[in-house]
Amino acid sequence: MSETTMNGIANRMPKFIRRADPAVLTAFACIVLLLFLGSLYSRSFLSPEYLLQQLKVASFLGVIATGMMLVILLGQIDLSVPWSVAVGAMMAAAAAAYGPIGVALAIPFGIFCGVLIGIVNGIGVAYLRIPSMIITLATNAVAQGLMVVYTGGFSPQDSATGAMRYLATGFTIPGVPNAVIIWALIGAAMVLVLTRTSFGRSVYGIGNRERAAYLSGIDTRRVVMIAFAISGGLSAFGGVLLAGYASKAAQSMGDAYLLPSIAAVVLGGTSILGGRGSYLGTVAGVILITLLQSILSVMQMPEAGRQIVYGLVIVAMLLLYGRAPASR
């Protein structure tokens, strides 16, 4: 028993030191390095406007990556992100065409539509046991089809409502864009869910070994289903924010978020096999990806060079800290 007493002492050490994952620390170090390299190119990379601007843009990816992370923790993946984002944005805008009630319900309705996509994914993965990589690909195609029909068939109302614009670009606290606050709130909720709730524990448990979780009396199918629904909802919410940011919804607005959201989660140290990862890492991953894209864009590197550098930097950073442990 002496070992457990020892551990009791260790338990009382500050949590963030004991828990800090080297991957997360390195990811944050990489962010600093990236900013430093950027500042060599132009001082304005360190200006508060630029940094806040990046945080604001990062928060769209952040919201989307939050859902992606939940699904990845289960050992699954959500490839329906692109059109869940578009559906969220377009349906929120569409709702606004139905008078004041529509305007009021625009945001919930957009999120609701994303949740519906997530539920279809969840049914496929949890109840029909279709690999997530393929069922989410299919729902993505269906969502795209629906939106094409919608845009062509019904005069689309696609400008964002005032509330959407306010959420994405307004300021409640001076200097801090609302989008950042929203991401912070969602992030805090996610941290709470993952670390303090039985749902969160179940997610990790299922990600590690679904069979064992099931035999422990967890309704694993419900948990998987809820996780996909949340992912769909958060993607759609990301779309709502994005529509607010751009003041309107558009067809392909989600395309640019699929691979970055996966990369952000994994760069943040979450195992793509599920069961391991912390939200702080995802935050770091999101900021990393956003900064990298932005700096490459502003440096006016031609597209080809940008792609190459983007790929190489991700590989390099993962080699730095994202390696699986050696097995001997």
Binding site: Q54, G153, P156, A250, A256, S297, V298, Q300
Partner: protein
């Protein structure tokens, strides 16, 4: 295959030849009504959807419908081979003419050969085909770039820092427009410092890269955008960037901004060719089938509106979608769609 003849074309104002040395085709006259197919590639963006709506609206017009036995549209996605196969299939199924918005202008050599052998009229538009054996309904992309460049030169007396928001890398449209802009700049003799970012013809992307560029390289004295222009203006507003002269595309949202903020300095040139060019392509195909003389390469007029001429209800539609592409009339071809005609198309059908 067609007979190469001397011009002018049957409707010289509509079927304007691309250049002085453009050949003219006369296909053997076929009896109608005709079976015409539209082979589209990618579909999931507003431009393409609007294009297909327009095509359907045009084919449904009474005098056009009378000439058509069948009008079939197939969208094959981003994949070039799928589009090639679709055209092959249309040829095998005995369609008289195929209108195509090519996913890759250079990839259709073998199909063009087959169409020619089978006597099928092939008309390309928007992304045209790299060939002298099919009819191209052509937008002067480079000319569009030159137009924007010249507009900026005219409105910015001393030169200076310009933001150029480009489109999708690797496409000829992007490259042509970019080259047009820069040739105009180079020829002006003024000093230009151009910041290039890639907006991918997409509002949120364009907005994001614009915001970044303003925060790090701004302010600018002029802006040109190939697409996603509504997003670019939005980014300027968000960053409280001063309104500056802007050469851009024909999105309704962009024109709304231009009309609203002209007084504050947002002077715009909004030019391009809307999705309605598909109607010109179909018209050309029918003309060719009827044995009329048509140029191998048709030059489409640009729909241009420049400050201070933005007129509500004609050049922009406040109650229409921001994503709606304005500039749907080609008066010389007798083609003139209202927004309602296009977007109401399916509804009327159902």
């Amino acid at each position: 295959g067609p007979e190469v003849v001397k011009g002018p074309a049957a409707e010289p104002d509509c079927f304007a030849p691309w250049a002085a040395d453009t050949q003219f085709f006369k296909f053997p006259k076929k009896d109608g009504p005709y079976r015409i197919a539209l082979a589209n590639g990618y579909i999931a963006n507003t431009w393409r959807i609007q294009m297909i709506q327009t095509a359907k609206a045009y084919a449904a017009q009474k005098d056009v419908a009378a000439k058509l036995k069948e009008f079939k549209v197939v969208s094959t996605g981003e994949d070039v081979p799928a589009q090639i196969s679709a055209i092959n299939n249309f040829i095998d199924s005995g369609f008289d003419a195929i209108v195509v918005n090519a996913q890759n202008p250079t990839a259709f050599g073998p199909v063009i050969k087959r169409a020619k052998e089978a006597g099928v009229v092939l008309v390309a538009f928007d992304n045209i085909l790299d060939t002298k054996d099919a009819i191209n309904v052509n937008v002067d992309q480079k000319g569009l770039g030159e137009l924007w460049g010249k507009w900026l030169i005219d409105h910015i007396p001393d030169g200076g820092k310009i933001l150029e928001v480009r489109g999708v890398a690797g496409t000829s449209v992007d490259t042509d427009r970019h080259n047009g802009i820069h040739e105009a700049f180079d020829a002006s003799g003024k000093k230009w410092d151009v910041t290039e970012v890639a907006g991918k013809w997409d509002d949120p992307t364009a907005q994001k890269v614009t915001a970044d560029a303003i925060a790090t390289n701004g302010p600018f004295v002029g802006i040109t955008g190939q697409g996603g222009d509504t997003g670019i203006v939005q980014a300027m507003i968000d960053a409280k960037h001063a309104f500056v002269p802007f050469g851009g595309e024909t999105e309704n949202g962009f024109r709304k901004f231009c009309a609203a903020h002209a007084a504050d300095g947002l002077k715009c040139s909004s030019a391009g060719t809307g999705p309605a060019q598909v109607a010109v392509a179909i018209k050309t195909a029918i003309a060719a089938l009827e044995g009329q003389v048509v140029p191998q390469s048709v030059k489409l007029p640009l729909a241009i509106v420049e400050d201070p001429n933005f007129k509500e209800g004609q050049d922009y539609f406040p109650d229409q979608s921001d994503n709606f592409f304005v500039g749907n009339s080609f008066p010389t071809c007798g083609i003139n769609f209202t927004a309602q005609e296009i977007m109401g198309q399916t509804k009327a059908d159902q």
